[in-house]
Amino acid sequence: MTNTRDGFATKKRFNTDVISRYALMAVASLTVLILFFIILFIVYNSTDAIADVGLWEFLTGTVWKPSADAYGAVPVIVGTILVTAGSVAIAVPIGVGAAIYISEVSSERARRILKPAVELFAGIPSVVYGFFGLVVMIPFLSGIFSEQMPTGFAWITGSLLLGIMALPTIISVSEDSLKAVPRSYREASLAMGATKWETTKKIVVPAAVSGISAAVILGIGRAIGETMAVMMVTGNAAIIPEPLWNIFSYIRTITASLALEMPEVVVGSTHYSALFVLALFLMIMVLAINLIAGYVVKRTKMKFEGNVSEGRFSDLLKKEKIRDIKTAAGLAIIFLIVLLAATLFVDLTMSAVIALAAVIMYKVLAAGLSKLSRKTIEKLAHLSLLAIILLVIGMLVVIIGDIVINALPSLNLEFITEYPKNMGTEGGIFPAIVGTLELVAGTALIALPIGIFSGAYLAEYAVSGKTTSLIRHAIDVLNGTPSIVFGLFGMTALVIFFGFGYSLIAGCISLALMIMPVIIRTTEEAVRSVPHELREASRAMGANKWQTTVKIVLPAAFGGIMTGSILGLGRAAGETAPIMFTAVVLMQSSLSDSIFDPVMALPYHLYYLATEGTADPSMQYATALVLLVIVLSMFILASVIRERSNKKNKW
């Protein structure tokens, strides 16, 4: 063995590490640039309407009728808040309950089925939810409440649907936080003789409260940004419900306004600018939610860890007398809610009676419950949680089962290989399938390189500082941005301003912008979870940072990166709002042959068939099924890759 006696090499002038650091920083900064550009575009285009019409009119006017120069946005702002609030009221109890069941009560075997099932829920595209709402929920609800809402289109329908859609987010994130509560907490409680339920209720859930709050807020964000599903089931009348709690009233959200009116605006008109004002309001709401989320998470974390003195007010709350007032307040709230709900069905006096009865029933129940043994209480609690999880799984089964069963009559080879005929009522959906695949491919080509390298930059190279902070904030905001805003941006910037016209490329860019934050985040997480020892080993052998990143770190993170990418692309495949105004046409007799031509796409085709209502229902179902199959198989593929790479890596 030769023992060479060379000296060391001199440091190269063009250091790969320095170059790669700046190159990656540039790529990651693109996200900031994009967000900046989008915000600039929105603000710039909204100034005309603000100048012509006045912010006052927008914020206080109650009539939205652009054709009559009326731009009162109050109904749609209120509509957005009410629909979101309703969906949260439904999704939070069910979602958190389901999460508690999965994390604390279910067996390991059950958990292995339940978790992926919940994630499958998350994969269902919103237009499919909207379709389900239109063909199943609306007839069902209008049958039950035929007097209050003969048409079935209503605020409650929207909130129910949105609530179901927000469930997977809330369940997943809550379950993760519950699972992350250290075992030692639970063991300490059980060792003192507490039942499992008492441990769950008093120790585990409070410990996970910051994560659960984050989950709820994420769910809210999801609901606010939803377009297609609400558009299909709320009737879209821009009115303020009368009375304000009338859940059976028609209602319209900001997102629906944007989607419905965007095709009709002439560039440069006041109406055009007014839509950007609405988009601005929407973005402000989303930003506010994000900020509140961050604050709540920080505070609740600090509180539980005892880092925050509670302050005089909460000390006050703990005193005995105040306890009684708290119970009284609780009763008052129950009375009020039942009263308001009852007024929708019967007159005021009757409602008061019913409300009173409800309060009495509650007190009796509470008294009865307190007499039960702790074991029985635990059994009851677990049973209730079981009921909740069965409800959730039941919904999933009903939705998917309904679609599969009703799709079968129309599902044949011709359907998949033929062009649509007679305005979609006959023939097949071949061009829509091709269009969707083309959109996914194009989106992948744009979003994956930028997203993966940005994520790698953030995980490996970024130093805490103003630039990195800025980049992270930009990514968070982009992540919370409703998909319709990307559609608005795509239409006005790409289709019209840059003159791409309705085209595949415009659609792909819009979709890529939408999923980039997801890719960046999952890449960053995957890269971060690569153990430090591997990097050390590589550096100790004389590899520089770039070599280490490319040859060791990224390959080791491959599983996580793939999972995130596929999830993002799955979402892109199912989205309607970004492509509705940038890429799609209703009918094509032949496939487009250039990226500057429009395409047909499954989500939009489903929306069209469903709202037209003239095609055979089983054709509508079959379209929904084909879309579901494409999207869900991507989700399943992502799950499988994640499982296998976790096993192989063993760390």
Partner: protein
């Protein structure tokens, strides 16, 4: 027994090191002789790992770490800014406390280093794989399954693989940071035998928590305490006739 003094391959002179505001090494000096096994012992937190990691500039990767003094590898200060740190690490390799093979095949683990440094010829790479696995006493056990994943090996085998990997870049010094503390006794003794074998062709510096290990295999020992090199001498002298009282108290187990 006459112990000749070999050439000093790495001369550590008056090294001070800070992690941010906190100083971790105080005026540490130590001559490392070639083809010897030098052991660094001392209680937790005494700075022996810090010192070891300075020898191949791994501390560069810790933000806020600052070093003063010289470490001359054959007269060339490794901290001279005009030196390419990666070529330094080619010559001074490292084995870590927990075995950390890459999640790749055994072959790919070993060819990683040579490929980084420009060797592409397949024959040459294969030769390196066989040679280093032989040197690490692992060839007999894995020679027929070089393309299987390295993660499938036992802990002791993984550590020997890491040694083979470190040998692949033809280093002159091998630094070992508590290489056996995560291994069972049988694997440990295999590694110790290996270190003694390697000594013939390489220089070994080993940090160890295990005094018996140091006295078993090393020629020179440095005892460190609170960031200072308290005593550095022939192993035999350190363990039988230490000059400093602190050394004696550590050796006899009065603190540790």
């Amino acid at each position: 027994m006459v112990i000749r003094m070999n050439e000093i391959i790495l001369d550590i002179k008056d090294v001070n090191l800070w992690y941010g505001e906190k100083q971790a090494l105080f005026d540490v000096s130590m001559p490392v002789e070639s083809n010897r096994i030098t052991a660094l012992i001392g209680p937790s937190g005494c700075g022996k790992s810090t010192l070891l990691r300075s020898m191949n500039r791994m501390n560069d990767l810790v933000s806020g770490c600052r070093i003063e003094g010289k470490m001359e590898f054959r007269g060339n200060d490794i901290y001279d800014p005009s030196n390419d740190v990666n070529s330094i690490r080619k010559k001074i390799g490292m084995i870590f406390q927990r075995p950390n093979p890459f999640p790749m095949s055994i072959r790919d683990n070993i060819t990683y280093g040579p490929k980084i440094h420009g060797i592409t010829d397949k024959k040459e790479l294969n030769e390196i794989v066989e040679r280093t696995l032989q040197q690490a006493a692992l060839w007999d056990e894995v020679g027929d399954r070089l393309d299987k994943s390295a993660l499938a090996l036992s802990g002791g085998q993984q550590q020997r693989l890491c040694i083979a990997r470190a040998l692949s870049t033809n280093p002159e010094i091998i630094l070992m940071d508590e290489p056996t503390s995560a291994l069972d006794p049988i694997a440990t003794s295999k590694i110790e035998d290996l270190a003694c074998e390697l000594q013939k062709d390489y220089t070994v510096v080993i940090v160890t928590h295990n005094m018996q290990q140091a006295s078993r295999i090393s020629d020179k020992t440095g005892f460190m305490y609170l960031g200072k090199m308290i005593e550095f001498d022939d192993t035999e002298k350190i363990f039988n006739k230490p000059k400093e009282e602190t050394t004696e108290r550590y050796i006899t187990g009065r603190f540790g």
